[in-house]
Structures are given as structure tokens and as C-alpha cells.
Subunit: 132 residues, 2 copies
DNA sequence: GAAATCACTATCCATGGGGTACCTATATAT
DNA sequence: ATATATAGGTACCCCATGGATAGTGATTTC
């Protein structure tokens, strides 16, 4: 197993029309990564998420949470109080995914220096072209 | 370990200015996922990739490969023949990442039915609102 | 009574993702 | 000799989306 094959379960993410392709499209978002990772350790309120995810705008936060809720990865609970209180938590499916996304985030943090170096080298190389 | 902590290695992907944040941003692309996964089993030519990734346009393929090359995940080899021959393969860093991305793709294929159902339910629920 | 909290919603703007057409040079087909 | 195909791109345009800013309603705080 371990995804040695390109496609399992009868679905093929390489195919435009395959449902798994649209799932991959949904996951391919910086904010989806970060929101799911942030919720991994427990339920959080909108404001708590906003403070944790530096630079996210209210619009993007709500938009991302709505998509995750629609796709069954996040559960939204509203408390009918004033001022309003809304909490978000991962569903079982969401927790399942969060493990993988956390590994990606961890990989990004671990290899950020390598990639920074690669980018610097790419720029240096391209600047050597000026006298071609 | 195993990313039980939110940030390791002194990098924090939640911070806008952290290099790991820009790495996550780069990875948050449908075509990056698919190109890296496609190269996992060996080097491929531009045309082979184009045929494998249904629906990718030449521009997006080239753009994606250039980004991956810039970031040190893909190596590009040009053979000076006519007609031109160019091959792409993962670097060691790229192969390292490909394992994780393949797991995500595999997860997407495995859970596509669940998410399809969740979306159908979301639509059904919202359509029940018309008489609210 | 002015400001802040809280969870949004609405509106605007700009970036860039994505599509189409085109390019170079050769081999093959007609 | 002309047309087509291959191969790996580049140049140009469009619009959808990401992202910034401002507003909403009710309540507690200073």
C-alpha cells in the first residue's frame, strides 16, 4: 500500500472530472492548511483563530471555515448568546486529515532553510545571465 | 515529535513573515501536488507530464515546473537535440516531499466519497432554508 | 457616551491563475 | 515543394479569486 500505486480506491486525482481532483483543489489553499492545523488541538472561536493565523482577514477566515464545514471537515457550533459565541472543531474526518496536513506544515518548517537557499541560488544564477 | 507541537525548528508557519509560511504558500497549489506526485516514480518529459495531468495547460505546466526547479525540488535536464528533449526529475528534497504529498493525494482519493456526501448534504440543507 | 468585543457581511481592488495563439526547427507525409 | 506533426516552450489577454477596508447590531467596559 502506502500509495505506491498512482491511484487506489477507483478514484484518480489526475483526472479533471474525478471527485478526488476537486478534493485536492479544495485542499490546495494556504488557509485550509493553517486553519485545519490550528484546530488540531481542540475547538477554537473565530477570534482565537483570527489571532493565531497572522495576516488572515475576517473574510478569508469565514470563507475557509465555510468551505471546511461544507465538506464535513469542521463542525460549527453557535451559542445563542449576546455577544455571539461561535466555536469550531474538527470532525473525525477533519482530524484524520489534520495529521497529514500537520506533517506538511512540519516539513515546511523543517526544510524552509533549504528552500530559502535554493531560491537565493536561483536568483544568483539568473543574475549571472546578464552578460550572455 | 511527530508535530505534536505547533512549531519546531524555530520556524512558525502561522507567521506571515516566516520563510516556512512562503513554503506552505508554494505548496498550496493543485498543480504542485500533481506534478510532484507524477514525478515520484521517475523522470518524465514535458509531454509525458502534460498527458498524465489531464487538463493542465502548457503555461501552467511550465510555470509549475519553474517554481519547483527554483525551490530545489525538481531538476531540469536539457538535451541539445532537435526536436528538443527536456527531462524533469525530483531532487532528493523533492522525493522527500513527494512521500507526504502522495499521502494527501491518496487521502483525497480515499475520502472523496465522504466529501461528496458532505457537499450533497450541505446543498440539501441550504435548500431547506427557502421557507425560513 | 465613547470605545471595545464579537462574529461576521459587503464592497472594492489588484494579483495571478488560466486559456489561446504563436514560435523555432526538423522529420515525415503527400 | 508544401503541409503537418512533434517538441518545448513564450506572449498576450481575461476574469475569478485573494485580500484589504469599512460597516453592522447588541452589549459590556471605562
Amino acid at each position: 500500500m502506502d500509495s505506491d500505486f498512482d491511484s487506489c480506491f477507483g478514484y484518480d486525482a489526475y483526472r479533471r472530472t474525478c471527485p478526488s481532483h476537486t478534493v485536492l483543489e479544495m485542499l490546495a489553499s494556504k488557509w485550509v492548511y493553517l486553519v485545519v492545523c490550528a484546530l488540531r488541538k481542540g475547538r477554537l472561536r473565530n477570534g482565537e483563530l483570527a489571532r493565531k493565523l497572522e495576516g488572515i482577514t475576517p473574510k478569508m477566515l469565514t470563507q475557509t471555515l465555510r468551505v471546511l464545514e461544507r465538506d464535513g471537515l469542521v463542525r460549527r457550533e453557535v451559542f445563542p448568546v449576546i455577544p455571539p459565541r461561535v466555536e469550531y472543531e474538527l470532525t473525525e474526518l477533519g482530524q484524520n486529515l489534520a495529521g497529514l496536513l500537520s506533517q506538511i506544515r512540519s516539513w515546511a518548517e523543517q526544510h524552509a532553510p533549504d528552500i530559502k537557499d535554493a531560491r537565493a541560488r536561483a536568483i544568483a544564477d539568473s543574475e549571472g545571465d546578464w552578460a550572455a
